[in-house]
């Protein structure tokens, strides 16, 4: 049974296994860190659809189908599917799941959705309520721009703190654990669900700064609850803080928690694209698909290969709506942590 330790952390004693994982993405996403690592690449941003929203649903569906294919399972054999995205009413997940017919739980955690869906799926598997659970999320540059920023063809400039929403999706299949598994299958052993945090950042072009306090709060709480230090992990991987947010996270952890992340930290937003790529990456990548694709396309395969053994994955989400900034609200944020260990 799951056990609470400290204030916020949950230990999963059955160690639910991430039995299969897959990332899919656009052409740009296939050009950096994930070159040769995506299960499916969409060369055209429209994905053959007539709207950006439908294109993102395609991404979500492709990620789910790829992971089922890799696991050798059909959709009928999945007990629960947890999925979310950035669009209103999580519509990309909903439409992406429509043709698959799995029992569906739509969740919203903005860009923290990969960690949130993994955490919920793992708790469900740990409890025995599901033997197999799917966790997935997606984001699409064009649908996110349309909902939160300007039309695609609008001619404006982005400040250097702005981030680039990744056109990508990731999915993980969780199965009941085997405590003695030493085959290298990544397992979820601890979870820390974060609190909504807000230090008053209002600049929607500086999401890294808005989310850094949430990441600091969750990482700090997790290390306190588990009485561990960054040196105990091979990698402390944040979701999409980008360069500005990562810098602020390190400062906040040192100031407020006395924790020095030093060389153990990396950020999916700074990893996804390479500097040579032609678009305006600015402070880094963002979007649910950013951390999902880096985790499922790069980190989990490296864990399965025995290259990484203990990874603390913290996906961060900026919880603004398309309305709240115009009502003068600051940007509340959240970060959820999942500890993934491989037995190899």
């Amino acid at each position: 049974m799951a056990e609470r330790i400290g204030l916020d952390t949950i230990t999963l004693q059955s160690r639910p296994r991430i039995a299969a994982f897959a990332a899919v993405g656009g052409k740009l996403e296939a050009g950096g860190l994930l070159a040769g690592k995506l299960a499916r690449i969409f060369d055209d941003d429209t994905m053959g659809q007539d709207s950006w929203e439908k294109a993102e649903a395609q991404l979500q569906q492709a990620a789910a189908e790829s992971v089922l294919h890799r696991a050798g399972l059909s959709a009928k054999e999945i007990d629960l599917h947890f999925a979310g995205d950035l669009l209103g009413q999580c519509s990309a997940s909903m439409f992406g799941s429509r043709g698959l017919g799995m029992p569906f739980v739509g969740i919203y955690g903005a860009c923290s959705t990969m960690a949130l869906s993994l955490a919920l799926a793992a708790i469900t598997v740990e409890s025995g309520a599901a033997q197999t659970a799917l966790a997935s999320t997606s984001s699409h540059f064009c649908s996110a721009e349309k909902q939160f920023r300007q039309p695609l063809e609008y001619g404006g400039q982005r400040p250097p703190t702005a981030q680039w929403t990744a056109t990508a999706a990731g999915a993980c299949l969780l199965r009941g654990g085997n405590v003695n598994d030493d085959t290298g299958t990544p397992q979820i052993t601890q979870i820390c669900l974060g609190r909504v945090t807000d230090l008053g950042v209002k600049d929607a072009n500086n999401m890294g700064a808005a989310m850094a306090p949430a990441a600091a709060s969750t990482v700090g709480s997790f290390l306190r609850d588990t009485q561990t230090i960054p040196g105990d992990y091979d990698l402390i991987l944040t979701g999409d803080l980008g360069s500005v947010g990562s810098d602020l996270l390190r400062q906040l952890l040192l100031r407020d928690w006395g924790v020095d992340l030093s060389d153990r930290h990396n950020d999916c937003g700074m990893m996804l694209y390479s500097q040579e790529q032609p678009n305006e990456i600015n402070a880094g990548a963002s979007g649910c698909g950013c951390s999902a694709a880096v985790l499922c396309g790069d980190i989990l395969p490296r864990m399965a290969a025995g290259e990484l053994r203990r990874v603390l994955f913290i996906a961060t989400g900026a919880l603004l709506s398309s309305v709240s900034p115009f009502q003068g609200e600051s940007i509340p944020s959240i970060a959820h942590a999942v500890l993934i260990e491989s037995g190899k």
Binding site: Y154, V201, A209, D247, L248
Partner: protein, 146 residues
């Protein structure tokens, strides 16, 4: 001690790189100037073709608007504008792009509730307050300067 919002505001300012103001201003100056040069050339062309002054004053902006809409439609305008900045936003090109781009973006919601309802999403405030300012100016003019 937990970081306060006030302290964090300072930290964010320190950590966030500023926009390259001088570079942006230089690019805007040159590109905005080029738009004006293009306007002048068009005016000379139309005059040579025998258009009256009044007609030239109408043809030049119409041509610039048409050109902007064409460049927006083929996906080139935003690539120019991300370098030009204010140089293409301030002239009539910026206004044309701000009408054409939502018209394209919301096509997927249909001609009426998509394009029709959203075409002035960006330009709407300019129309409302531009029109409002013109009315106010007209009233002041009528009261004092007749």
């Amino acid at each position: 001690m937990k970081t306060t919002p006030e302290k964090y505001k300072n930290m964010v300012e320190q950590s966030s790189p500023n926009s390259p103001l001088l570079k942006n201003m230089a690019k805007a100056f040159v590109s905005g100037g080029l738009v004006c040069v293009l306007g002048e050339l068009l005016a000379m062309l139309y005059a040579r073709l025998g258009a009256s002054d009044e007609l030239v004053r109408m043809l030049v902006p119409v041509t610039l608007i048409g050109l902007t809409v064409l460049l927006t439609a083929i996906g080139v305008y935003d690539k120019i504008a991300k370098h030009a900045g204010a140089g293409t936003i301030v002239p009539i090109t910026g206004f044309a792009n701000s009408v054409a781009s939502p018209a394209m973006e919301f096509q997927s919601e249909g001609r009426i509730l998509g394009t029709g309802a959203n075409i002035f999403k960006l330009a709407g405030p300019v129309l409302v307050y531009g029109g409002g300012a013109a009315v106010l100016y007209g009233v002041i003019y009528w009261l004092f300067a007749r």
